[in-house]
Amino acid sequence: MLSRLVLVSGSALKGSGPLGAGLVHASRSLHTSSQSLAPVPPLPEKGGKVRHGLFPEELFQLLYPKTGVTGPYMLGTGLLVYLLSKEIYVINHETIAAISIGSVIVYAVKKFGPSVAAFADKLNDDKVAKAQEVKDLAMTNLVQAIEDEKKEQWRTEGRSMLFDAKRNNVAMLLETNYRERLHTVTNEVKRRLDYQIALQNLHRQMEQEHMIRWVEKSVVGSITPQQEKESIAKCITDLKALAKATQAKAAV
């Protein structure tokens, strides 16, 4: 916690003097807690290198500049000889047990190590493949969802055309309805007018017939019997004259 304060105050300072006591190279990081990153960084491929399964490589790198390649081995030999000679490490029955167990373990690791490693790797790969599958499935689903969304957006663009068509439909319906009603009105008015005309005609006809009948009746009534006889006698004489004329024409 203090170290974070140091970082904040340290970045404000500009140390221009030579490296003195209390200064540290900026390349070595201080005791700071690591920031959390997202996404999580992937696991490193291989662990820290270890020589002979027991000694970290850093020890060999540490001693290399001063003692070369054989340095750590000499250190090990010297240490072993010292421990044995001063009997800080005592040889007793446990040493024999340790040697036998150690050799068995070393043999087992050398023989079965790779196959066990391959098996564990396969397990890991299966897990990763499953997770990857889920991720891929989710990805395809999301991509599909994006496609569908784009399609929907494209569809809404055509909405205005749809509305135009609907508007046209409605206008046509209104027009049709209006014209139908116009027709109805015309027909009704015509019917009424025709009725009036027929009525007038009927009136006139009846008046005419009535008058004719009345005139006929009065004429027929005015013909007295005497006049009837006179007219019949006149008709007969006219007929006779006519007959004579025709006979004369026929003879000529």
């Binding site: 203090l2 300072l13 540290v24 662990g47 270890v50 027991l54 009997e87 446990e94």
Partner: protein, 89 residues
Amino acid sequence: MADRPVPVVDKRLMDVKLGELGTWLGGRDFTPNGLISAVRRGHDRYYNKYINVKKGGIGGLAMLLAGYVVLSYVWEYDHIKHDRWRKYH
């Protein structure tokens, strides 16, 4: 690459000069919380370096077991002393 002045206590052990060792030790956090957090930090460093990797080797586990063997030998030394072959070395 600026060289920032830093209090001694916060340096890593490898950066502490021999003369400052006393100050450094005196300034470290020895409260229970501090001890536990130190153990946790050490565990995390070892774990993330040797065990929490994709293809770990036998080294990660073997070093722990070897350390356990050595530590148990050290704790039993007073008892093993009696099996020594010579009295004077």
